[in-house]
Protein backbone atom coordinates (compact mmCIF):
# COMPACT_ATOMS: atom_id res chain seq x y z
CA UNK A 1 0.00 0.00 0.00
CA UNK A 2 1.10 3.55 -0.79
CA UNK A 3 2.32 5.90 1.84
CA UNK A 4 -0.66 6.96 3.85
CA UNK A 5 -1.74 10.55 4.23
CA UNK A 6 -4.68 12.69 5.11
CA UNK A 7 -5.94 16.21 4.81
CA UNK A 8 -7.84 18.70 6.90
CA UNK A 9 -10.25 20.98 5.14
CA UNK A 10 -11.06 24.27 6.77
CA UNK A 11 -14.72 24.18 5.88
CA UNK A 12 -15.22 27.85 6.61
CA UNK A 13 -12.68 28.68 3.91
CA UNK A 14 -13.97 26.14 1.41
CA UNK A 15 -16.19 27.48 -1.34
CA UNK A 16 -17.12 24.15 -2.84
CA UNK A 17 -15.42 24.81 -6.16
CA UNK A 18 -14.51 21.11 -6.48
CA UNK A 19 -11.12 21.82 -8.00
CA UNK A 20 -9.58 19.62 -5.34
CA UNK A 21 -12.01 16.88 -6.29
CA UNK A 22 -10.79 17.14 -9.86
CA UNK A 23 -7.16 17.11 -8.78
CA UNK A 24 -7.19 14.18 -6.40
CA UNK A 25 -5.61 11.18 -8.08
CA UNK A 26 -7.23 8.92 -5.50
CA UNK A 27 -10.70 10.29 -6.22
CA UNK A 28 -11.05 10.58 -2.49
CA UNK A 29 -12.83 13.91 -2.29
CA UNK A 30 -16.45 14.79 -2.82
CA UNK A 31 -18.78 17.74 -2.47
CA UNK A 32 -20.77 17.11 0.68
CA UNK A 33 -24.19 18.30 1.69
CA UNK A 34 -22.85 20.48 4.45
CA UNK A 35 -23.32 24.18 4.02
CA UNK A 36 -20.94 26.56 5.75
CA UNK A 37 -21.73 29.93 7.28
CA UNK A 38 -21.14 31.71 4.00
CA UNK A 39 -23.69 29.44 2.36
CA UNK A 40 -21.30 27.27 0.35
CA UNK A 41 -21.56 23.51 0.15
CA UNK A 42 -18.19 22.20 1.22
CA UNK A 43 -15.95 19.37 0.11
CA UNK A 44 -14.99 16.44 2.29
CA UNK A 45 -12.61 13.50 2.19
CA UNK A 46 -14.86 10.47 1.92
CA UNK A 47 -12.36 7.69 1.31
CA UNK A 48 -9.34 6.86 3.41
CA UNK A 49 -7.05 6.22 0.49
CA UNK A 50 -5.38 9.60 0.70
CA UNK A 51 -1.68 9.42 -0.08
CA UNK A 52 -0.83 12.90 1.09
CA UNK A 53 0.21 13.78 -2.43
CA UNK A 54 -0.66 17.44 -1.85
CA UNK A 55 -2.36 17.83 -5.20
CA UNK A 56 -5.64 18.97 -3.73
CA UNK A 57 -3.99 21.56 -1.56
CA UNK A 58 -1.94 22.91 -4.43
CA UNK A 59 -4.95 23.70 -6.56
CA UNK A 60 -7.23 24.86 -3.77
CA UNK A 61 -7.78 28.55 -4.49
CA UNK A 62 -8.91 29.27 -0.97
CA UNK A 63 -6.06 27.74 0.97
CA UNK A 64 -8.56 25.51 2.71
CA UNK A 65 -6.51 22.32 2.79
CA UNK A 66 -3.68 21.19 5.02
CA UNK A 67 -2.02 17.92 4.10
CA UNK A 68 -0.37 15.39 6.38
CA UNK A 69 1.69 12.46 5.31
CA UNK A 70 3.20 9.57 7.12
CA UNK A 71 6.94 10.02 7.28
CA UNK A 72 9.09 7.54 5.34
CA UNK A 73 10.90 6.60 8.51
CA UNK A 74 7.67 6.00 10.37
CA UNK A 75 6.29 4.01 7.49
CA UNK A 76 9.01 1.44 7.81
Amino acid sequence: MAIKGTIIIDTELCKGCELCVLACPQKGLVLSDKINLKGYRVVELYMDNCTGCVNCALVCPDSAITVYREKKAQAV
Partner: protein
Amino acid sequence: MEQFLINPDCMVYDNHPVTLTGEPYHYCPGCGHGVIHKVLMEVVRDLGIQEEVIGVAPVGCSVFAYHYMNVDMQEAAHGRASAVATAIKRVRPQNYVFSYQGDGDLAAIGTAETIHTVNRGENILMVFVNNAIYGMTGGQMAPTSLLGMKTSTSPYGRDAASMGNPIKITELLAQLPGAYYVARHAVHTPNAVRKLSKAFKNAFEYQKLNRGTCFIEVVSNCPSGWKMSPVQSIDWIEKNMLPMFPLGDIKVPDPKTGNPVMVKNN
Protein backbone atom coordinates in the same frame (compact mmCIF):
# COMPACT_ATOMS: atom_id res chain seq x y z
CA MET B 1 -4.33 6.42 12.00
CA GLU B 2 -5.45 9.77 10.82
CA GLN B 3 -5.21 11.08 14.33
CA PHE B 4 -1.67 9.88 14.43
CA LEU B 5 -0.86 11.74 11.23
CA ILE B 6 -2.33 15.03 12.19
CA ASN B 7 0.62 16.53 13.97
CA PRO B 8 3.04 19.25 12.92
CA ASP B 9 5.73 16.73 12.15
CA CYS B 10 3.70 15.09 9.46
CA MET B 11 2.36 18.25 7.91
CA VAL B 12 3.48 18.36 4.30
CA TYR B 13 1.34 21.21 3.15
CA ASP B 14 0.50 24.12 5.40
CA ASN B 15 -2.51 26.13 4.31
CA HIS B 16 -1.39 29.02 6.47
CA PRO B 17 2.02 30.23 5.35
CA VAL B 18 3.15 33.21 7.42
CA THR B 19 3.30 35.17 4.20
CA LEU B 20 -0.47 35.06 3.86
CA THR B 21 -2.52 37.09 6.28
CA GLY B 22 -5.07 34.32 6.69
CA GLU B 23 -7.87 36.62 5.69
CA PRO B 24 -10.36 34.62 3.58
CA TYR B 25 -10.33 35.57 -0.08
CA HIS B 26 -13.20 37.56 -1.53
CA TYR B 27 -12.75 35.76 -4.83
CA CYS B 28 -15.45 33.72 -6.49
CA PRO B 29 -15.33 29.95 -5.93
CA GLY B 30 -12.60 28.36 -7.99
CA CYS B 31 -10.94 31.61 -9.03
CA GLY B 32 -7.31 31.27 -10.06
CA HIS B 33 -6.22 34.41 -8.25
CA GLY B 34 -6.34 32.52 -4.97
CA VAL B 35 -3.89 29.87 -6.13
CA ILE B 36 -1.55 32.41 -7.65
CA HIS B 37 -1.48 34.50 -4.48
CA LYS B 38 -0.72 31.43 -2.47
CA VAL B 39 2.03 30.13 -4.70
CA LEU B 40 3.69 33.52 -4.84
CA MET B 41 3.61 33.91 -1.10
CA GLU B 42 4.81 30.38 -0.50
CA VAL B 43 7.86 31.19 -2.59
CA VAL B 44 8.43 34.34 -0.58
CA ARG B 45 8.24 32.25 2.57
CA ASP B 46 10.53 29.57 1.20
CA LEU B 47 13.15 32.09 0.13
CA GLY B 48 12.91 33.82 3.50
CA ILE B 49 12.48 37.23 1.92
CA GLN B 50 9.18 38.34 3.44
CA GLU B 51 10.86 41.29 5.12
CA GLU B 52 12.34 42.51 1.89
CA VAL B 53 9.45 42.13 -0.50
CA ILE B 54 7.29 45.00 -1.67
CA GLY B 55 4.35 44.14 -3.87
CA VAL B 56 2.14 46.20 -6.11
CA ALA B 57 -1.52 45.31 -6.54
CA PRO B 58 -3.48 46.26 -9.67
CA VAL B 59 -7.01 47.43 -10.24
CA GLY B 60 -8.82 44.25 -11.12
CA CYS B 61 -10.24 41.45 -9.04
CA SER B 62 -6.94 41.21 -7.20
CA VAL B 63 -7.15 44.83 -6.15
CA PHE B 64 -7.25 43.65 -2.55
CA ALA B 65 -4.20 41.42 -2.92
CA TYR B 66 -2.71 43.23 0.08
CA HIS B 67 -5.50 41.91 2.24
CA TYR B 68 -4.08 38.47 1.67
CA MET B 69 -0.39 38.79 0.94
CA ASN B 70 1.34 39.56 4.19
CA VAL B 71 4.03 41.82 2.80
CA ASP B 72 4.28 45.56 2.32
CA MET B 73 2.20 46.53 -0.67
CA GLN B 74 0.94 49.40 -2.74
CA GLU B 75 -2.31 49.53 -4.64
CA ALA B 76 -1.64 51.09 -8.04
CA ALA B 77 -4.00 52.90 -10.37
CA HIS B 78 -5.52 50.80 -13.16
CA GLY B 79 -2.75 49.80 -15.54
CA ARG B 80 0.05 51.56 -13.71
CA ALA B 81 1.35 48.83 -11.42
CA SER B 82 4.57 48.46 -13.35
CA ALA B 83 5.25 52.21 -13.20
CA VAL B 84 4.63 52.12 -9.47
CA ALA B 85 6.86 49.06 -9.12
CA THR B 86 9.56 50.74 -11.20
CA ALA B 87 9.64 53.69 -8.85
CA ILE B 88 9.68 51.55 -5.73
CA LYS B 89 12.55 49.47 -7.03
CA ARG B 90 14.47 52.54 -8.14
CA VAL B 91 14.28 54.18 -4.74
CA ARG B 92 14.71 50.90 -2.83
CA PRO B 93 16.98 48.69 -4.93
CA GLN B 94 17.73 46.60 -1.85
CA ASN B 95 14.15 45.30 -1.78
CA TYR B 96 12.49 42.64 -3.90
CA VAL B 97 9.66 44.20 -5.85
CA PHE B 98 6.87 42.54 -7.77
CA SER B 99 3.79 43.74 -9.56
CA TYR B 100 0.69 41.62 -9.94
CA GLN B 101 -1.65 42.53 -12.78
CA GLY B 102 -4.58 41.28 -14.80
CA ASP B 103 -4.90 41.25 -18.55
CA GLY B 104 -7.03 44.37 -18.74
CA ASP B 105 -4.67 46.15 -16.43
CA LEU B 106 -1.40 45.06 -17.98
CA ALA B 107 -2.26 44.59 -21.63
CA ALA B 108 -4.93 47.21 -22.29
CA ILE B 109 -4.82 50.42 -20.28
CA GLY B 110 -1.32 49.73 -19.00
CA THR B 111 0.29 48.71 -22.28
CA ALA B 112 2.67 51.66 -22.42
CA GLU B 113 3.85 51.22 -18.86
CA THR B 114 4.23 47.48 -19.37
CA ILE B 115 6.33 47.82 -22.51
CA HIS B 116 8.56 50.53 -21.14
CA THR B 117 9.09 48.90 -17.78
CA VAL B 118 10.31 45.77 -19.51
CA ASN B 119 12.23 47.76 -22.07
CA ARG B 120 14.11 49.54 -19.33
CA GLY B 121 14.76 46.12 -17.85
CA GLU B 122 13.56 47.15 -14.42
CA ASN B 123 14.75 44.64 -11.87
CA ILE B 124 11.34 43.50 -10.81
CA LEU B 125 9.09 40.51 -11.15
CA MET B 126 5.93 41.14 -13.11
CA VAL B 127 3.17 38.61 -12.54
CA PHE B 128 0.61 38.74 -15.31
CA VAL B 129 -2.65 36.94 -14.61
CA ASN B 130 -4.30 36.23 -17.91
CA ASN B 131 -7.89 35.13 -17.49
CA ALA B 132 -8.93 36.51 -20.86
CA ILE B 133 -11.55 38.75 -19.34
CA TYR B 134 -12.20 41.78 -17.18
CA GLY B 135 -13.25 39.91 -14.09
CA MET B 136 -13.78 42.74 -11.70
CA THR B 137 -16.06 44.91 -13.78
CA GLY B 138 -18.30 42.04 -14.74
CA GLY B 139 -16.88 40.11 -17.61
CA GLN B 140 -16.06 42.52 -20.40
CA MET B 141 -13.76 41.63 -23.26
CA ALA B 142 -10.06 41.75 -22.44
CA PRO B 143 -7.21 42.22 -24.90
CA THR B 144 -6.53 38.49 -24.43
CA SER B 145 -10.12 37.31 -24.88
CA LEU B 146 -10.17 34.55 -27.45
CA LEU B 147 -11.68 34.85 -30.89
CA GLY B 148 -15.33 33.99 -30.79
CA MET B 149 -15.43 34.31 -27.03
CA LYS B 150 -18.62 35.83 -25.72
CA THR B 151 -18.20 38.48 -23.08
CA SER B 152 -20.45 41.23 -21.87
CA THR B 153 -18.97 43.61 -24.44
CA SER B 154 -18.63 41.03 -27.20
CA PRO B 155 -22.03 39.39 -26.84
CA TYR B 156 -21.81 37.94 -30.33
CA GLY B 157 -18.28 36.70 -29.77
CA ARG B 158 -14.95 38.42 -30.29
CA ASP B 159 -14.46 39.21 -33.92
CA ALA B 160 -10.93 39.81 -35.20
CA ALA B 161 -11.97 42.25 -37.89
CA SER B 162 -13.52 44.78 -35.57
CA MET B 163 -11.98 43.96 -32.19
CA GLY B 164 -8.59 42.64 -33.15
CA ASN B 165 -6.95 39.38 -32.25
CA PRO B 166 -6.14 38.33 -28.70
CA ILE B 167 -2.80 39.86 -27.97
CA LYS B 168 0.15 37.72 -26.96
CA ILE B 169 1.85 40.40 -24.99
CA THR B 170 4.23 38.00 -23.29
CA GLU B 171 5.78 36.96 -26.57
CA LEU B 172 6.11 40.62 -27.54
CA LEU B 173 7.78 41.57 -24.29
CA ALA B 174 10.23 38.71 -24.58
CA GLN B 175 11.64 40.45 -27.66
CA LEU B 176 12.81 43.39 -25.60
CA PRO B 177 16.42 43.32 -24.46
CA GLY B 178 15.33 44.39 -20.98
CA ALA B 179 13.38 41.15 -20.50
CA TYR B 180 15.58 38.64 -18.71
CA TYR B 181 13.30 35.77 -17.91
CA VAL B 182 9.92 35.30 -19.55
CA ALA B 183 7.65 32.33 -19.14
CA ARG B 184 4.03 31.33 -19.30
CA HIS B 185 2.55 29.11 -16.64
CA ALA B 186 -0.87 28.10 -15.37
CA VAL B 187 -2.64 26.90 -12.26
CA HIS B 188 -5.15 24.46 -13.64
CA THR B 189 -3.40 21.29 -12.45
CA PRO B 190 -1.17 20.44 -9.51
CA ASN B 191 1.78 20.07 -11.81
CA ALA B 192 1.19 23.42 -13.39
CA VAL B 193 1.17 24.89 -9.90
CA ARG B 194 4.48 23.21 -9.10
CA LYS B 195 6.05 24.67 -12.22
CA LEU B 196 4.73 28.11 -11.45
CA SER B 197 6.25 27.91 -8.01
CA LYS B 198 9.63 27.10 -9.50
CA ALA B 199 9.29 29.99 -11.94
CA PHE B 200 8.57 32.48 -9.18
CA LYS B 201 11.55 31.19 -7.31
CA ASN B 202 13.80 31.66 -10.32
CA ALA B 203 12.46 35.14 -10.81
CA PHE B 204 13.29 36.28 -7.29
CA GLU B 205 16.71 34.75 -7.57
CA TYR B 206 17.41 36.61 -10.79
CA GLN B 207 16.11 39.77 -9.19
CA LYS B 208 18.74 39.40 -6.50
CA LEU B 209 21.34 39.35 -9.25
CA ASN B 210 19.90 42.49 -10.89
CA ARG B 211 19.47 40.83 -14.21
CA GLY B 212 16.51 42.69 -15.64
CA THR B 213 12.81 42.15 -15.79
CA CYS B 214 11.31 38.76 -15.01
CA PHE B 215 7.89 38.42 -16.51
CA ILE B 216 5.64 35.52 -15.73
CA GLU B 217 2.28 35.13 -17.34
CA VAL B 218 -0.12 32.86 -15.51
CA VAL B 219 -3.01 31.53 -17.53
CA SER B 220 -5.87 31.60 -15.11
CA ASN B 221 -9.60 31.12 -15.01
CA CYS B 222 -12.58 33.33 -14.26
CA PRO B 223 -15.56 31.04 -13.75
CA SER B 224 -17.85 34.00 -13.12
CA GLY B 225 -16.80 35.97 -16.15
CA TRP B 226 -16.75 32.88 -18.33
CA LYS B 227 -20.15 31.94 -16.99
CA MET B 228 -19.28 28.36 -16.13
CA SER B 229 -18.52 26.25 -13.10
CA PRO B 230 -14.96 26.15 -11.77
CA VAL B 231 -14.58 22.58 -12.97
CA GLN B 232 -15.77 23.47 -16.45
CA SER B 233 -13.37 26.39 -16.46
CA ILE B 234 -10.42 24.03 -15.99
CA ASP B 235 -11.50 22.14 -19.03
CA TRP B 236 -11.96 25.37 -20.94
CA ILE B 237 -8.40 26.40 -20.08
CA GLU B 238 -7.07 23.19 -21.55
CA LYS B 239 -9.21 23.24 -24.65
CA ASN B 240 -9.27 26.91 -25.50
CA MET B 241 -6.73 28.97 -23.59
CA LEU B 242 -3.67 26.77 -23.89
CA PRO B 243 -3.73 26.38 -27.67
CA MET B 244 -3.59 30.17 -27.93
CA PHE B 245 -1.35 30.70 -24.92
CA PRO B 246 1.00 27.70 -24.82
CA LEU B 247 2.79 27.09 -21.55
CA GLY B 248 6.50 27.04 -21.03
CA ASP B 249 9.62 29.16 -20.97
CA ILE B 250 9.86 31.85 -23.59
CA LYS B 251 13.12 33.51 -22.69
CA VAL B 252 15.56 32.11 -20.20
CA PRO B 253 19.13 32.73 -19.19
CA ASP B 254 21.65 30.67 -21.05
CA PRO B 255 23.08 28.38 -18.37
CA LYS B 256 26.62 29.08 -19.52
CA THR B 257 26.64 32.80 -20.17
CA GLY B 258 23.75 33.89 -18.00
CA ASN B 259 22.51 35.97 -20.90
CA PRO B 260 18.86 35.65 -21.76
CA VAL B 261 18.03 33.69 -24.89
CA MET B 262 14.76 32.98 -26.61
CA VAL B 263 13.52 29.44 -26.28
CA LYS B 264 13.05 27.96 -29.71
CA ASN B 265 9.78 26.54 -30.92
CA ASN B 266 7.76 28.33 -28.40
